[in-house]
């Protein structure tokens, strides 16, 4: 296999190495060329190459370990692919977008790539330390990314909020990790799971776990750690919002999977001590997250904020995985993450494209969009209905798998999480209300202007990609679901 030939012992690291190279040379490229289009093209090429390499490795079924800290398996591959898709979409539209910075173009792409590198690093880690470092790499890059927006003081404010809340959550995380480390004497997740040093529930364990949940819960914007998200998504430029909502959030979820699923997977000694408690904890967080996300989304008038809350709700849905803790649930959760990338990403792309075209961010600005740009309106309609879970779109299929997992235990039907499934579907119905508001504005209400809208071509390309995947994953979920199942099996072994 050519990856091994080229990268040798570092084969497992191959996609990351490509990304790192990209991140490192991009400022130089920009410094040398001073042409942001070139920088953009280079970033894009590296992203695509990395994605291709990863895809090849994934399809090929490559597994391997590098330096004893980074393990590439199906799970890693799938998550990497997800992050790379996000990166690809974000980079693709960044050059054309009128929101992104024009001053520090090299740094901008380097940060995007660097943040992705962090995510990718996380996905292959099995040690709390490496996970922590990877997450911080992503976080710190994102703080900077948020502020890198042209002519908008909201970005600055968003950056401040993000960095403060992020810093707090880092502190919580590290404090939690220290507790766990103190109890078990190790930071290797598998070792912690198998550790016999803990002989029962105690306050230290509780605080340690809750602090970690809180710290990483910040990344996925789980309630009550979600409050930064709407502000940041609103303040940041659309490509960055896209990146955060679909990429950074997925990394948080991946961290949850890698830490808590592995810690409490059936049979581990920790699960015997407080497995069920953690499940309930997550179930409650999930219920609150989806409910608050959806209910508050109704009150929003800014479409970016609405999408932010909708992202919170979607994260809540995926947290069902953490409550149920089966590999089927994990597979469906991962699948939902994929579909979420395309539908939420697509929605942010349209918002970004329309901002480029001079439209506002208010939902009322979308009035009459169907007349002004049938394509964008139709695409938005698809994304929103997909988010609401209307068949036969991707969002429905993934929700079908995800919600169905709530009813399944290890051996068939279980009624333990039926209430969670009910909350999920009720939320799903509530979400229809605010998505339909946008649809109504686009299709039914008459706008003041009937002028046709022109958007940059790359946006069109990116949106088309999302549309295609939203439909294809809806009618042919197996394209990815098979990999998700393999990945889930690989992680939970």
């Amino acid at each position: 296999m050519f990856v091994e030939e080229i990268f040798g012992d570092y084969a497992a690291f191959a996609p990351i190495i490509i990304m790192l190279i990209s991140a490192l040379i991009l400022p130089a490229v920009h410094f040398a060329g001073k042409r942001h289009t070139v920088t953009w093209a280079v970033a894009l090429v590296f992203a695509v190459v990395s994605m291709a390499v990863n895809a090849y490795m994934l399809v090929d079924g490559f597994t391997g370990t590098t330096l004893g800290v980074y393990e590439y398996d199906a799970y890693t591959g799938v998550m990497l692919l997800l992050f790379q898709i996000v990166l690809f979409l974000a980079i693709l539209v960044s050059n054309a977008s009128t929101e992104t910075t024009r001053l520090h173009v090299g740094a901008y792409y380097a940060l995007l790539t660097g943040a992705t590198t962090g995510m990718m690093f996380v996905a292959g880690s099995s040690d709390l330390l490496t996970i922590f470092v990877g997450v911080e790499l992503t976080s710190i890059s994102s703080y900077a990314l948020v502020t890198m927006k042209r002519n908008d003081s909201r970005a600055a404010e968003a950056g401040v909020k993000y960095v403060i809340v992020g810093g707090l959550s880092t502190a919580l995380t590290i404090y939690g990790i220290s507790m766990i480390y103190g109890l078990t004497g190790t930071t290797d997740i598998a070792a912690i799971a198998a550790s016999t040093a803990i002989d029962g529930m105690n306050w230290i364990l509780a605080i340690g776990l809750v602090c970690m949940v809180a710290g990483y819960g910040f990344k996925i914007a789980a309630v009550p750690f979600h409050m930064w998200a709407p502000d940041v998504y609103e303040g940041a430029s659309s490509p960055v919002s896209l990146f955060l909502a679909t990429g950074s959030k997925k990394m948080g979820l991946s961290v949850f999977f890698q830490i808590f699923l592995v810690l409490f997977v059936a049979g581990s000694s920790l699960s015997a001590i407080c497995g069920e408690e953690v499940q309930y904890l997550f179930a409650i967080i999930a219920a609150f997250t989806m409910t608050v996300g959806n209910v508050v989304a109704i009150a929003q008038n800014n479409i970016k904020r609405m999408l932010a809350y909708s992202s919170i709700a979607q994260a809540g849905y995926i947290l069902i995985v953490m409550a149920v803790m089966t590999d089927y649930a994990l597979a469906s959760g991962m699948f939902h993450m994929f579909t979420h990338v395309f539908m939420k990403g697509g929605a942010f792309l349209i918002v970004g494209a329309l901002i480029c075209a001079g439209l506002g961010e208010k939902i009322s600005d979308y009035k009459g969009l169907a007349k002004r740009s049938p394509f964008l309106a139709a695409a938005m309609l698809l994304f929103l209905f997909s988010l609401a879970g209307i068949p036969p779109l991707a969002g429905f299929t993934s929700k079908f798998f995800l919600f169905s997992s709530a009813l399944g235990g290890v051996d068939g039907l279980t009624s333990q999480w039926v209430w969670l499934a009910f909350i999920a579907i009720l939320n799903s119905a509530i979400s229809l209300y605010y998505y339909a508001r946008v649809v109504k504005a686009m299709y039914i209400e008459k706008g003041e202007s009937t002028e046709k809208i022109k958007i940059p071509a790359v946006f069109t390309v990116a949106i088309v990609i999302c549309v295609v995947f939203v439909i294809v994953l809806g009618v042919y979920p197996q394209l990815i679901f098979d990999y998700c199942e393999t990945a889930a099996a690989a992680l939970l072994l």
Binding site: N202, W203, L209, A214, V223, P224, F225, L281, I284, Y433
Partner: protein, 678 residues
């Protein structure tokens, strides 16, 4: 030979309905001739069938044939015909009178223009219903035609429910009368339907042949049959306008007079009586049912007659009279059936005697039904002729018309004499037979004695109000509208009058020439047989009636009634105002207000119909929908409230995070405690 084609009898009018309905506008007289031809053809076929059947070998066994239609579960529902004596009689007089009335319509409906198409289509459909009902071979089939007739009755009562020549008020009146007719009869129909459920449940079939088989009846649950037949009788009460559902019929006079004549006097309202006669084998299973039937009949006869006493609307008088006469028929069937039922319960020789006596009630009821069809059709057509000519229905505006309308006045006089029971006129024979059987049943229970008494009083009232009507119309000084009289009606109208008057006078004699055998009822161990009974003959009936002292009583009462009417309304030597305080007496008002039945109906329908509906609607809008809207408002409001917590101040965010951590930690421990891990 003809009998196999019995299905043609209702089918021909059906075809006429379709032809007239679809193409009638383009034919001469807007389809009138087609309708007449259809009715006439039906009559001819009926006559041929009747002749063949009555002279055939099968007689008196019913001739029936059916095809499978569909199945309700395991129960086969069939379509077919069922011919016996009763069928023949009904078929004949229905199609005959219909033919005459259709011809009459050519004249009467002449001015209606394009609407005539609708008229002829609807009456053809009606005839389908009536004849179909008569030849049906099972209750379900009968019920279908029963309802079709109801529909036609509705449509025809409402014939002028829009764009009435007399203006908007008349339109509204017709519309509301049609509605009332449909709904009131529907109430009965719903009962009938329930009765059919019970019968179907007991017999697993609705074919007459199955239901009238004594072996099957013996197998069935007798309580259920009782209940079923009471419910079936509910249908009769609705259709034949019996107390307490009689009130629709007077209102139904809002339709054209031809319709009143055909549907609301001669044929459709007889369907109820026919149903009792047809269902006789089941009705007589329980004496109590028959007692109930008799009571309803007697009470109706009396009540309706009282209301006719002081009405000024020529058609409404006739309508009340119709109701009253229908009561007679039901009374006869009830009284006879009561005796038969008692006899069957009793058994032995005494029982056989009772049965033999009771079957006369069947004959009397059917006989009166036929006679009534003739004379009431005649009377209505005469009144139609009068109305056609003077343009009003109010008798106070008529008077002295005898000079202007000779034929009409004479034919109507004949009809009135007939219904009043003037000796040797048709009504005399049948009415006295009815009274006779009621009196006979009175031997068994005091109820029937009371009913007989009511019936006798009714006979007196009948004579009085009929001649009150005749005198007010044709005698005395000329009323306001008499001046505008166009003279005698056209030939198409008077010819049927003359023909019918002949029948009205003479049809009573039919019973002396074998009709009693044709509509007799016999009970044997293995079957209930309609028709084929022993025919009494002329001598028997003359002897029977004229040796009966009560006959003379009724004759005297009838003459008395005519006399009083003469004094009051022709000679005007007696002022009717003296007896009713000039319309101020309580009784007069009660009668004028039809015993307050319309008010009662209104009250019931408003209270239990609209009142409840209002309540339901309130619950629907406020409670159920209110909950739904409230929930959604709560969600939206909750969203607003929670979003206000998002203050934009990063301190609050961090505070919430820290609070969240504390709460979650506590929660985690609590869960652990609940689950017993700690």
């Amino acid at each position: 030979m003809f009998i196999e084609y019995t299905w043609l009898v209702p089918l021909i009018p059906m075809l006429c309905f379709l032809i007239v309905g679809l193409l009638g506008r383009k034919t001469p007289e807007k389809g009138g001739y087609i309708a007449i031809a259809g009715a006439l053809l039906s009559f001819i076929i009926s006559a041929l069938i009747a002749y063949e059947y009555l002279t055939g070998d099968a007689y008196p066994e019913p001739v029936t044939s059916q095809i499978a239609w569909f199945a309700i579960g395991d129960f086969e529902i069939n379509l077919g015909y069922y011919v016996d004596g009763l069928t023949c009689m009904m078929m004949l007089f229905s199609s005959f009178i219909s033919t005459l009335i259709f011809i009459y319509s050519i004249g009467y409906m002449h001015a209606e223009g394009a609407r005539k198409t609708r008229y002829y289509a609807e009456v053809s459909l009606f005839l389908t219903g009536m004849l179909g009902l008569i030849v049906s071979s099972n209750f379900l089939e009968m019920f279908i035609f029963w309802e079709v007739m109801g529909l036609c009755s509705y449509l025809l009562i409402g014939f002028w429910s829009f764009r009435h020549n007399d203006g908007d008020a008349a339109s509204a009146n017709a519309a509301s009368a049609a509605k009332k007719a449909f709904l009131v009869t529907r109430m009965g129909d719903v009962c009938l339907m329930a009765g059919l459920f019970i019968l179907l449940g007991e017999f697993h079939s609705l074919d007459y042949t199955e239901l009238f088989d004594p072996a099957n009846i013996a197998n069935a649950d007798s309580t259920m049959i009782t209940l079923g037949m009471l419910l079936v009788f509910g249908g009769v009460i609705g259709k034949s306008a019996q107390f307490p559902l009689h009130d629709w019929l007077p209102d139904a006079m809002a339709g054209p007079t031809t319709v009143s004549s055909l549907i609301h006097a001669a044929t459709m309202v007889k369907a109820g009586v026919y149903l009792v006669a047809r269902g006789y084998p089941l009705f007589i299973q329980d004496p109590e049912v028959m007692l109930f039937v008799g009571i309803i009949g007697g009470v109706t006869a009396f009540f309706a007659a009282t209301m006719a006493l002081n009405n000024y609307n020529i058609k409404k008088v006739l309508a009340f009279s119709t109701v009253s006469q229908l009561g007679y028929m039901i009374l006869a069937l009830g009284a006879g059936g009561y005796l038969v039922a008692l006899g069957m319960d009793m058994g032995g020789a005494e029982g056989t005697a009772l049965i033999a006596a009771g079957t006369a009630g069947f004959t009397a009821g059917c006989f009166h039904m036929m006679n009534h069809a003739f004379f009431k059709a005649l009377l209505f057509m005469c009144s139609g002729s009068v109305i056609h000519s003077v343009g009003t229905e109010d008798m106070r505006l008529m008077g002295g018309l005898g000079k202007h309308m000779k034929i009409t006045s004479i034919t109507m006089l004949l009809g009135s004499l007939s219904i009043a029971g003037f000796p040797l006129f048709s009504g005399f024979w049948s009415k006295d037979l009815v009274l006779d059987i009621a009196l006979e049943a009175g031997d068994q229970t005091i109820w029937f004695t009371v009913l007989w008494l009511l019936a006798v009083i009714t006979a007196f009232m009948t004579a009085f109000y009929m001649f009150r009507m005749w005198f007010m119309t044709f005698m005395g000084e000329e009323g306001a509208n008499t001046q505008h009289c166009h003279g005698e009606s056209p030939k198409t109208m008077t010819a049927p009058l003359v023909i019918l008057s002949v029948f009205a006078v003479l049809s009573g004699f039919l019973i002396m020439f074998g009709l009693d055998g044709m509509v007799s009822f016999e009970v044997t161990d293995t079957a209930f047989i309609v028709g084929g009974g022993h025919a009494g003959g002329m001598v028997h009936y003359f002897e029977h009636l004229f040796t009966n002292p009560y006959t003379y009583l009724t004759i005297v009462l009838a003459l008395l009634g005519i006399g009083i009417a003469y004094l009051m309304y022709a000679k005007k030597t007696v002022d009717p105002g003296r007896f009713n305080k000039h319309g101020e007496s309580g009784l007069y008002k009660v009668l004028a207000n039809r015993w307050y039945f319309p008010e009662f109906y209104n009250w019931v329908s408003w209270k239990f119909g609209y009142g409840v509906a209002k309540g339901v609607n309130y619950v629907d809008r406020q409670v159920i929908d209110g909950t739904v809207n409230g929930l959604s408002a709560a969600v939206v409001g909750g969203g607003d409230t929670i979003s206000k917590m998002q203050t934009g101040n990063v301190h609050d965010y961090t505070a919430v995070i820290l609070l969240g951590v504390s709460v979650l930690a506590a929660l985690f421990v609590v869960i652990a405690m609940i689950l017993g891990g700690m």
